[in-house]
């Protein structure tokens, strides 16, 4: 209400006039000085109180009358937003604000928030609104409510995140917000509407709509035009060479400076020129890394439309090779040679960006010391059948505490009914036939017929067809086993057994070239390498993640006797997960851009978190695409209703007309007060005259 007018204030002072007049009128005539009240007795009837009350009612009426007259001339108005009440035909507004990383650039988010406020203010009587933000997921911020002030206050609290927005995920999440008790819904999407946020399937842009509801989608592009933006796309380190990939969108500028920082210190800076494809690679030579994990940050020095993608965080592992014990009866046997060669050849997985290798340390049964097992994450066994019972017991405890064992079969297992360590029963019939085959003239060979390709050990592994297996242990699979690969004969080729917090991977054939041709195939190196990474948990931690990704429990967890496992320190140095809490944590979202430190029992690792590259592409959807999207949701085609950016100005202009003038109501109130005042004052006047006449007669 616009009442802060000087004339109104002056006019309001008139309301004090009746008060003074009544004070003058009531204070003097009824009270008299008297010599002494010693002989006076108060009357039972409180006449003067009643009289005062009557005067008060009259005075109140007169004050209200004057105020009403002043208000009528002040012509107050009230915004319709304050008069929101439920009524038929009202609309449920779903106001969606894009808070993905791309909205943090320039003034996109401010524009979106202002547009959202305009939408809230322009709601009609009976409408309600629900405020939501969309990035990696859809979240409700406020509402549904018809209190505009609440919603407007909530809009101010909204901030951009580092996440990526997928419009398909966003729209599918809207279904639950479209409640059935409202017939009219209007979805307002305030976003930069990036092309890169579109799902692969257009159908995902259409939410599951209530059967009888009328749903409208209004799109509000915060920046209809494309903005020039550069990003650091990737960093790759090999030896002392670091390659930094740059990509530019809608950029007319063809050169940029790239700065490389290792462990917080700037080590080099060089210009790069974009190729016609919009990409460029900056190659830094002679970069010296420290032993262990290094923090590498590549940055574009100049600011652009989106600053958060001008930095790329990357972890380079220069840790020394990790030792792994190989428990064997004969350190000079061929399986030992094959395993050592394969493991010392293979590097870490490609995505780990590390160069660490393994050093196999053969340990004979005589030299085995169970106390040394604490130093290792996993253990190799070349012939599980040769393991003495005492060592098997130590290894069982090691596995139960979270350790891992890779064991292969061997000749010493052939005569056993039950394998040590794993406890698997060997079926004699199958075993006999295999032995017979071995010595017979007709050799029967098997191949790997079925592989659980989703398992990390077999990920991207090719070459199974080259394998030929002549001998394998007839292991009886138990309910706790997970068979990872099957032979064509129906026997398991490789299985995984969970024991306590650890696991055991058993290869049912040997690692020499007598039972199979596995060790002499190139495939063997990859198989052993991925098995090593799996069992040592190296494969678990992906060293490069996108903001909003989750750190899984198995990435956080490690080996520990007390059930506790890991600790996460975010880029701000805040410990997110304490040790004692880790075991109860299922997953942890990585919100910030930078380096996350992960401390587990198996060692320390570093995770570089960057915003999703898709957020860097500021190319907006075309008008045709927007119309198609809106039409698909709304069920009708109408360019005017689809793109509200231009129409919003007109709508804001209409807001002035949405104010409700109150002077009509106040004029009626003033008239009523005037009538009441006249009637009451006449009544009192007559009564007073009658009393005076009575007194005169007396």
């Amino acid at each position: 209400m616009g009442l802060l007018v000087p004339l109104f204030t002056l006019g309001a002072l008139l309301a004090a006039l009746p008060f003074f007049l009544h004070r003058l009128n009531t204070a003097t005539p009824d009270q008299h000085e008297f010599a002494s009240a010693m002989l006076l007795s108060p009357t039972q009837k409180r006449e003067h109180v009643r009289k005062q009350l009557r005067y008060l009612i009259l005075m109140t009426l007169r004050i209200l009358l004057l105020l009403a007259i002043v208000f009528v001339f002040a012509r107050p108005f009230m915004d319709e937003e304050s008069l929101l009440v439920f009524s038929d035909g009202s609309v449920n507004h779903l106001v969606l604000i894009d808070t993905s990383a791309s909205m943090s650039g320039t003034d996109k988010l401010d524009t979106a928030k202002q547009q959202a406020k305009d939408i809230i203010r322009s709601m009609s009587i009976g409408d309600r609104a629900q405020l939501m933000v969309a990035d990696k997921q859809l979240r409700i911020v406020a509402g549904p409510s018809n209190e505009a002030s609440l919603l407007l206050a909530a809009i101010d609290e909204i901030e951009a995140t580092n996440y990526q927005l997928d419009y398909g995920v966003m729209m599918s999440g809207l279904s639950s917000a479209l409640s059935d008790d409202w017939l009219n819904h209007k979805i307002h999407l305030l976003s930069d509407l990036q092309q890169s946020g579109m799902p692969r399937q257009f159908a995902k842009l259409i939410p599951e709509l209530p059967a009888i509801a009328d749903v409208q989608l209004a799109l509000y592009p915060t920046r209809p035009e494309s903005l020039a933006n550069w990003l650091v796309e990737y960093v790759d380190a090999e030896g002392e060479q670091v390659r930094v990939g740059i990509k530019g969108y809608q950029s007319s500028q063809q050169s940029r400076f790239v700065e490389l920082a290792v462990n917080g210190e700037s080590v080099a800076e060089q210009p790069v020129d974009l190729t016609p494809s919009g990409r460029a690679v900056a190659i830094f030579e002679g970069v010296q890394f420290q032993p262990g994990i290094n923090r590498v940050r590549a940055s574009l020095t100049e600011s652009d439309a989106l600053d958060s993608d001008n930095h790329f965080h990357f972890a380079v592992d220069r840790s020394p090779p990790e030792p792994v014990p190989l428990i064997t009866a004969n350190p000079y046997a061929r399986p030992v040679t094959y395993l050592s060669t394969a493991l010392e050849t293979v590097g870490a997985p490609e995505n780990s960006q590390t160069t660490s290798n393994w050093i196999v340390q053969p340990v004979t049964f005589e030299d085995f010391d169970a106390r040394t097992l604490e130093r290792y994450n996993w253990v190799l066994i070349d012939d599980i059948g040769a393991i003495p019972e005492s060592i098997a017991n130590d290894l069982v405890q090691f596995v139960q505490a979270g350790g891992a064992v890779f064991a292969a079969a061997g000749e010493r297992a052939l005569g056993l009914a039950q394998l040590p360590l794993s406890g698997h029963t060997l079926s004699s019939g199958l075993e006999g036939s295999e032995v017979d085959l071995l010595g017979g003239s007709q050799a029967v060979f098997s191949s790997v017929s079925r592989v659980e390709s989703s398992h990390p050990i077999f990920e991207n592994l090719i070459g199974w067809a080259d394998l030929t297996i002549s001998h394998s242990l007839p292991v009886e699979v138990t309910a706790s086993d997970r068979v990872l690969a099957w032979l064509s004969s129906g026997r398991p080729f490789m299985l995984e057994q969970r024991v306590g917090r650890g696991r055991l991977v058993l290869l049912t054939t040997s690692l020499d070239n007598e039972w199979n041709n596995l060790p002499v195939k190139p495939f063997f190196v990859a198989l052993i390498g991925q098995t090593a990474n799996y069992l040592s948990r190296r494969e678990a931690v992906t060293v490069q993640k996108v903001a909003g990704d989750y750190l899984r429990a198995d990435e956080i967890g490690g080996r520990g006797s007390d059930g506790a496992a890991g600790q996460i320190v975010d880029p701000n140095g805040v410990t997110l997960v304490a040790l004692q809490n880790t075991s109860s944590l299922s997953q942890r979202q990585l919100n910030d851009v930078g380096f996350y430190e992960l401390h587990t029992a198996g060692g320390e690792s570093l995770i570089g978190v960057n915003i999703a590259p898709a957020e860097s592409d500021t190319t907006p959807l075309s008008a045709d695409e927007l119309i198609q999207w809106s039409s698909a949701v709304s069920g009708q085609v109408g360019a005017d209703e689809t793109i509200e950016a231009a129409g919003l100005t007109a709508r804001v202009g209409e807001d002035e007309d949405s104010f409700v003038e109150l002077w009509h109501i106040l004029a009626i109130i003033a008239l009523i007060l005037l009538c009441a005042e006249s009637l009451l004052s006449n009544f009192y006047l007559r009564r007073s005259q009658v009393l005076e006449a009575d007194a005169a007669v007396t």
């Binding site: 009270q31 010599a35 009240a37 010693m38 002989l39 006076l40 007795s41 009357t43 007194a695």
Partner: protein
């Protein structure tokens, strides 16, 4: 001459001296030299001069003849000092529409008249003005300047505060004033028992006490047309009263109050004179003379 004793006429006079003279002269003329109430300069006897006697009355002729200092005494002249106790509490300031002067003003007229009359009789006269405490005190004296001093003091009296009669009565008793007359001028809004207790010692000392109760006619018979609020002039207490009460019950209560005051006065052999402020002052002066004659 009665007209000259009317308070409405007296209020038009300039000062208390003139008022007092007018009142006394009016009263004395009306008395026609009554032997009972004699007031003359006829010689009665000679008396040996003693310290304290007014030297104006030394008969120098006798001194010339006999070298003895004697003073002349006249008929009607007695040794009757008059002590006036004037109530100046706030209730005395009350004046209704029916009266032309306030109770205090009326009391001042009365006090001035009594002083003047006593002076003419060569009686020593003193005054004590009180409310809650004694505000002004002038001991009895028959000196020449006593009359104007008392009148001047009366001029300055204003009505304020409450009433405590015990205070002046106690002080008069304590001062050891010579036996004489004590005129208490007040509206006597007090408890009868406490009044008796405070005044009774004076009676025991041999003082003749006159109680002049000054009342406004509206206090005796209020003219009250509407119910309303009455505010006590002394305490500020506001009491809501009905018209019926003020017209019926209050006059009865007032009469009972006056009657009880008369009874109390009788109990200590005091004289109670009720004077309304719209009535002439002669009644008060006649009362004084009656008392004075009782002592001679």
């Amino acid at each position: 001459m009665q007209r000259l004793l009317d308070p409405a006429v007296l209020s038009g006079l300039a000062n208390l001296d003139l008022i007092a003279r007018t009142v006394v002269d009016g009263v004395m003329i009306g008395l026609h030299r009554s032997p009972t109430f004699g007031f003359s300069q006829e010689f009665a006897e000679y008396k040996t001069y003693t310290e304290g006697d007014d030297p104006r009355f030394i008969d120098w002729n006798v001194y010339a003849r006999s070298e003895r200092t004697v003073i002349k005494r006249f008929r009607g002249e007695t040794n009757s000092p008059l002590m006036i106790l004037l109530d100046s509490s706030a209730s005395m300031g009350f004046q209704s529409e029916q009266a032309v002067v306030s109770k205090l003003q009326y009391a001042k007229y009365l006090a001035a008249s009594l002083t003047y009359m006593a002076s003419k009789q060569h009686d020593a006269v003193g005054i004590m003005v009180f409310d809650e405490k004694v505000r002004d005190y002038r001991p009895p004296s028959s000196r020449q300047g006593q009359l104007p001093a008392i009148l001047h003091g009366l001029d300055r009296v204003v009505a304020e505060r409450g009433t405590v009669l015990e205070e002046p009565a106690t002080q008069v008793g304590a001062l050891g004033i010579k036996k004489g007359m004590v005129a208490v001028i007040s509206d006597f809004y007090c408890d009868h028992e406490s009044l008796l207790q405070s005044v009774r010692p004076l009676a025991f000392q041999g003082q003749d006490i006159m109680m002049f109760q000054i009342m406004d006619p509206a206090e005796i018979k209020p003219d009250f047309k509407h119910p309303g609020l009455l505010k006590d002039a002394e305490t500020g207490q506001v009491v809501e009263v009905s018209r019926d009460y003020m017209q019926k019950q209050y006059p009865q209560k007032m009469q009972a109050h006056i009657a009880s005051l008369e009874n109390a006065a009788d109990a200590i052999r005091a004289d109670h004179v009720l004077m309304q402020t719209n009535e002439p002052l002669d009644q008060g002066l006649i009362g004084y003379l009656r008392f004075r004659s009782r002592r001679t």
